[in-house]
Structures are given as C-alpha cells and as structure tokens.
C-alpha cells in the first residue's frame, strides 16, 4: 500500500507540474474566497478545464459522476501535493461543498447522473433556497409553498439570503408541501433558475458587495423528477446538507497565509525578534493556535467518523470556525491600522481593500449556516441531551 501511495504521489506531482500554471500559484484565496475575484485569465480557464477532465475538483466522487474515485488517503496525498505546488482547485461553491455530497447520499441514479457532472466540472452553479423573511433561525417555519399538481409542483413564495442567486443555474430549496405539519411538511426541490416565474434581486450588504439575493417564485412549475428524496423528507435532507455547510465553514480558513507573517512585515520587532506589541502578539498566537486546534479536531472527527460524512460535531466546528474567521479579520485590521480602513480606489493596495471588506463580511459567518446560538442549541439538545422544560 505504501508503494502504491508513493506512486500516486509521484503521479500527482508530475501531473500538477505539467498542468498547473505557475502564474496562478498561491492565488487560490484571491480567486475563490475574495469579495472581488479577478477576471478569469486564459491560464485560469485552461487550468479549470484540465482539473475538471481529471476529476480532481471533486476527487473522491465516483468517476461516473465526474469525480476521480480516489480514496480518502489518495485525496489527502493530492491535497498535500497541491499545497506544496501552490496549486488550488478552481472548482468550488455550494454545489461541491454542500449540494453534491447530499445528492450523492439521497439522489436517484438518474438525478445523480443529471446533476453531478455539471458540479464536478464547474460548469453549473447552485444556490441555496433555505431562509425566508419569516424563517431565519426558526427555519422550519418556512412558508414557500409547493403544491402537487400531478406531474409537477407549483411553487409560490420568497427566499432570502440566496447566496450567488444572480449567477446560479440551479437552486436547491426547502419548500412547504404540507401546511399542517411543521417539519414533516417540508420537501427538498431542485429548481431550474431559468424557469418562468423566478425573479432575483441582489441585496447590497455592509461590505458593499451583493453576494446575497432575494429570490421570488411566482407560479414556478417544477417537474416531479426534481424532488430529492420523498415528499416530506425535506427537513431531514436539509439538515444533513447543513452539516456539510457547517463542516465547510470550519475548514474555510485553512489555506490563508499566517497572520504573524503579515504582522512581522508591518509592525515593530524587538531586538530578540518578537513582535514588540506584546498584547497583539498574544492575540495572534491565540488565533493561530485556535486555528491549529480546529484543524486537528476536524481531522480527528473525520477519522473517527465511520461513515465518512459530517457528524453532529460539525456544530462545534462551525462555531469555532466562525470565531476564527472574525478574530482573524479583526487582527488583520489591527495589523494594517488605518491602511486597512480604505474603501476603494487610489492610495490602497488590493490586499488592504480586501481586508476591510473581509472584516465587514466576516460578521456574517456567525449568522449564516445557522447562527452561533442555534449551533449551541443543537449541541446542548442533541449532543448533551439537555431538554427543554
């Protein structure tokens, strides 16, 4: 086995050497998690095509759905080799992180063959239709109706905070098929965003960008084939998907450069090589140590989880990940000082402008995907067995 994995390591290194454009090395965060990603260059597009053909955007998915059928061990080797080469995957988003794994678990063969390859090659974008104006933390109170019309559902209602809806091809949505049963009356639909009756309005956020939208459904016809699982199974499937989302949030900050490196280039250093600002130094150490503790915990829980999927512990990981994202953004601004407060235009470097927007946007991390308070409820009730009165 060891020799086989060494062979795989060599083969991935060779393949990355041939196909990954060096000009893109280390630019993953700029392209994939930036508020203002750069225009795709020819090198970017060629790289995306190459990795999609190889199935390495979603390396552990089965080959027939556009993955590469790699074992977890091989995927880990691939990730190490990519990190060593400064390479990153240009195929991401909600389809890869959240919907794809859920479809793999609950979809029919026909549904998987229809939808997974487009996610795997990055050609089809998905958005999430969960929250509604009256259903935030109390998600199960959602009211967007889907009436059974024989061969199709007729969908009427409104979703909000649909990330990237204005650029998405499809939406996975929780809809109400039975008004008399709060949780058992929810179903999970896949909705083509080009269907007549779908309207999208971007929402301008405090960070200045509009990653979230309001999405309106006005007599939208959705074929019955687009129901995932059974009618009334939406709450179960939807919660499972949220575990993938929370797991993803806990891992978000893994490929960013360490804060202390930035601090060392911007701030005064004592004769003994320490950051001179003792309080900031300790806060940076706390933040970096917490990030390492989280990464170790993600790895431990993954190796302990027999089925490989995200366990309920994702709630604690989500909370720690949210704290980290926000603390990191705070420290970035503290390190940059006034340079990190620029809004746009001349006089500021791109990473400085990015730090400002990121600080604002980071406020969302403890709200979306279930607030920190909701996660604590889940931990207390489901993991610790503390009951309501």
């Amino acid at each position: 086995m060891a020799s086989g994995s060494e062979g795989f390591r060599r083969a991935s290194r060779d393949w990355l050497g041939t196909h990954f454009p060096r000009a893109l090395a280390g630019l993953g965060p700029r392209y994939m998690s930036s508020e203002t990603p750069p225009e795709p260059t020819p090198a970017f597009l060629a790289w995306k095509r190459a990795i999609a053909e190889k199935g390495w955007g979603v390396p552990t998915w089965p080959c027939q759905y556009g993955g590469a059928g790699l074992s977890e061990e091989e995927a880990a080797i691939l990730a190490e080799e990519m990190a060593a080469a400064g390479a990153w995957t240009p195929i991401g988003g909600m389809g890869v992180m959240m919907f794809g794994p859920t479809l793999l678990e609950y979809g029919t063969e026909q549904q998987k063959l229809r939808h997974l390859p487009g996610i795997a090659d990055g050609s089809i974008r998905w958005c999430q239709g969960y929250s509604e104006p009256g259903a935030g933390s109390d998600l199960a109170s959602l009211q967007c109706r889907a009436e059974d019309k024989g061969d199709h559902f007729l969908v009427n209602g409104q979703k909000v905070w649909t990330s990237g809806a204005q650029w998405s091809d499809w939406c996975f949505a929780l809809v109400r098929t039975d008004p008399s049963d709060k949780r058992g009356g929810i179903s999970f639909l896949m909705i083509d965003m080009r269907s007549p009756g779908v309207t999208v309005k971007p929402i301008r956020m405090i960070s200045g960008s509009s990653p979230f939208c309001e999405t309106f459904f006005d007599n939208v016809e959705v074929p019955k084939d687009n129901l995932l699982g059974a009618t009334g199974q939406g709450w179960t499937i939807g919660k499972r998907l949220l575990q993938h989302e929370r797991g993803g949030i806990s891992q978000m900050s893994s490929d960013v450069p360490p804060l202390h490196a930035l601090a060392l280039t911007h701030l005064a250093i004592s004769d003994d090589g320490r950051l001179a600002d003792g309080e900031l130094r300790v806060r940076i150490a706390r933040c970096e140590m917490e990030a390492l503790a989280l990464a170790l915990t993600v790895a431990r829980i993954q190796s302990e989880s027999e089925e490989g999927g995200p366990p309920q512990a994702t709630s604690i990981l989500k909370n720690v990940g949210a704290w980290l994202a926000q603390e990191r953004a705070e420290l970035m601004l503290e390190i940059l000082g006034t340079r990190g407060l620029g809004w746009e235009g001349a006089g500021f470097a791109a990473p400085e402008l990015e730090a400002c927007r990121q600080w604002l946007f980071s406020k969302a991390v403890s709200i979306y995907g279930g607030t920190t308070e909701i996660q604590n409820d889940i931990v207390a009730k489901r993991m610790l067995g503390l009951k309501d009165a």
Partner: protein, 361 residues
C-alpha cells in the same frame, strides 16, 4: 506503531474499568484524609504496575510495553478522571526521559525496575513559583569522582514517593536515586493533597549519572503533554458531573439544564474540551514520532488544556451552586488538582509565548 482507533478505545475502556473497580474518587478521599505525606496508595500502585502501565512507554527490550506516550496519555487521562492518587504520570515522563537521553547501561539499570513498579521516578526541574527552565540555578560541576550537584527543587511532583529523581541542572540532566547521601526531602502539603516535596541536593554522583544525550526541552515536553492528558481526564469527569447535575437539579419547577443560559455555556465547555482532546492526541503522537513540530504541538496542547480546564472547573462550581463549594462534593477536589496542573510544565501564557517564539514571532 501508533494504536488504531479501536485499540485506543479498548485501552481507554480497560482503564475505565480498572478505575471503577480499584480506585474511584472515594479512594482518593481516603488517601487525602489519611494525610500520609506519601500522597498515594501503594496497593493501587502495585495494581497499576501489574496492569503494565508503569512500563507503557518503555521499550519491550527493557521490560515495557513499547506503546509510547500516546498510549500513556490515554491511561493518564483515564486515571485523572477519578483523581487516582498515583505517581504514574511522573514515572512515565521520567521513563521517557531515560529512554530518550540515557545510554544502554542507564536504561538497563532503571527501566526494567520502573516497568515492574519497584522504582518510582519523577523529574525535578522547577526552582521557584514559576516554570522557567531557561534559568536553572541548580549547579552541576565536574569533580574527580564524577559530578557534584547542588540546588533546591522546592515543589517536586511525587517528590515524597519517588525512589529516583531526574534532576535538571544548569549543565544537563542527572539521575539521582532518592537515597543518595546529601539528598534531603521534606513533604509540602499542597492544595491537591498529592505527594509533593521539596528536594534539596548537595550530592556527589558517579560519572555515569548524567543523561548525556538528553535534551531538556524534549524531556519537559513529555511532562507537559502528560499533564495536558491528565487535565483532559479531569475535564471529562467534571463536565460529566456538571451535566448530570444540570439534568436533575430542579428550580422554578424545571431542571436547570432546561435554561438556555446554562445550555449554551455547557455547549461552550463541550467545544473547548473537544478541541483539547485533538491537541493532546496530536502532541503525544508527535512526541512519539519525534516530529519536527512536536514542540509547537505540545505548547498548543498545554496552553489549550490550561485555558479549557480553568474555564470548565470554574463553570462547574458555578453551575453546582452552593453544593459545589462543599468539601463533601467531588467538584472541589477536581478544582484543586486542576489548579496544580495549570502551572505544571508551564502555564498557558508560558506556552503561548513559546509557541510564538517557535513560529518566529
């Protein structure tokens, strides 16, 4: 070869069964109330040695189990859960120091007797109220017959029970049997009622008493990681006890665990404990593998364990209310042991500073 997850579970289960049978918290109370300065129960120690745990990290050719510090951490955590008064953690850390820094003769001389439980060992490093291994004043000088050691180690863990000390001096680490002429010890009664002692040294040692290949930081990292493991065990027990109380204590006609203000605090404690569980396992595994990042990981584990256990024990007393302030309830026993371990091998602040230095800032 690291233990598989299944083997780890089996080992932890067998430790749990032993503790329930041989040494539940009531046994610690008996040791405490007897006020024996030895601070441990010799019968329990014999049973621990018979289980093979004293030699858990000692290589098989020296009579041990050869399972390394990762396995040792599971045992130490398991005993910590019930506050077992035994010199096991100190002895394992000392055995790891001899294994790491000793020559063949030193290993042969000490490791088999440690493994069978006839020798009890402890590392004597700190010289004041703080862990400060960079500024040791205990002197070791070359003399014709070997070495001359002089200094005072005022708070040595298991100092009353130890038959062998691994003494950190300004020029290295030395093996000093407790019956060496010129070694004097006095028990120190401390908050956790364990067998601490002040050890003063004015001794002449043979030339082969020095652990010539030992690196002090590596030796201390064993102490620190095992302390973090014990802290994890304490936290698991205190948290379980607190959850039980939240489930049964009724006020305002409902269990207090049904109040969201307490539920969310319990969720936070659970989160902090789970993070430390990963850090402790990673630190012990890195020490076993002699990995490049073992120092960082040990500091991570000790710092996170210190902050976590401080929070968990404080919250445990608060959530228990008045009963948590009584000597009759066990939570106070954990609080006291926790406070001793917070400083053992360096506080959280010490380890954050060390982590930052190791990472170049």
């Amino acid at each position: 070869m690291p233990l598989s997850i299944q083997e780890q579970t089996m080992l932890a289960d067998s430790v749990g069964a032993w503790v329930a049978r041989e040494s539940p918290v009531t046994a610690f109370r008996r040791v405490r109330d007897a006020a024996d300065p030895l601070g441990f129960d010799p019968a329990a120690w014999r049973s621990i040695a018979a289980m093979g745990w004293a030699g858990i990290a000692i290589s098989e050719d020296q009579g041990g189990a050869g399972l390394g510090l990762a396995a040792a951490g599971l045992i130490v955590a398991g005993l910590g859960r019930a506050l077992v008064a035994s010199p096991l953690a100190a002895t394992i850390a000392a055995s790891a120091a001899i294994l790491h820094g000793g020559d063949e003769a030193q290993r042969r001389l000490w490791l088999p007797s440690i493994a069978e439980g006839t020798a009890i060992a402890s590392i004597a490093c700190d010289e004041g109220g703080h862990h400060d291994p960079a500024r040791l004043r205990t002197k070791a000088e070359r003399v014709a017959s070997g070495w001359r050691l002089s200094g005072v180690k005022p708070f040595v863990a298991e100092g009353s029970a130890a038959t062998l000390f691994v003494v950190a001096a300004d020029t290295g680490l030395f093996l000093v049997p407790a019956d060496t002429q010129g070694l004097a010890r006095e028990p120190r009664s401390m908050m956790d009622s364990r067998g601490h002692a002040s050890v003063s040294l004015d001794v002449t040692l043979p030339a082969d008493a020095r652990l010539s290949d030992a690196d002090l930081d590596t030796v201390l990292d064993g102490v620190r990681a095992l302390a973090a493991a014990e802290m994890l065990g304490l936290a698991d027990a205190v948290f379980a006890m607190t959850l039980d109380y939240l489930r049964v204590r009724v006020q305002f006609g409902r269990t207090i665990g049904s109040f969201q203000a307490l539920q969310h605090r319990a969720a936070t404690l659970f989160t902090r404990i789970e993070l430390v569980r990963s850090c402790v396992a990673a630190a012990l595994a890195a020490l076993d593998a002699r990995a490049d990042d073992s120092r960082s990981l040990v500091s991570l584990a000790k710092a996170q364990a210190g902050d976590m256990l401080n929070l968990v024990t404080r919250e445990a007393v608060q959530m228990h209310g008045g009963i948590g302030m009584t000597d009759e309830h066990d939570v106070g026993l954990y609080l006291k042991r926790a406070k001793m371990l917070e400083g053992a091998g360096g506080t959280s602040a010490f380890h954050r500073d060390r982590y930052a230095r190791l990472n170049g800032y």
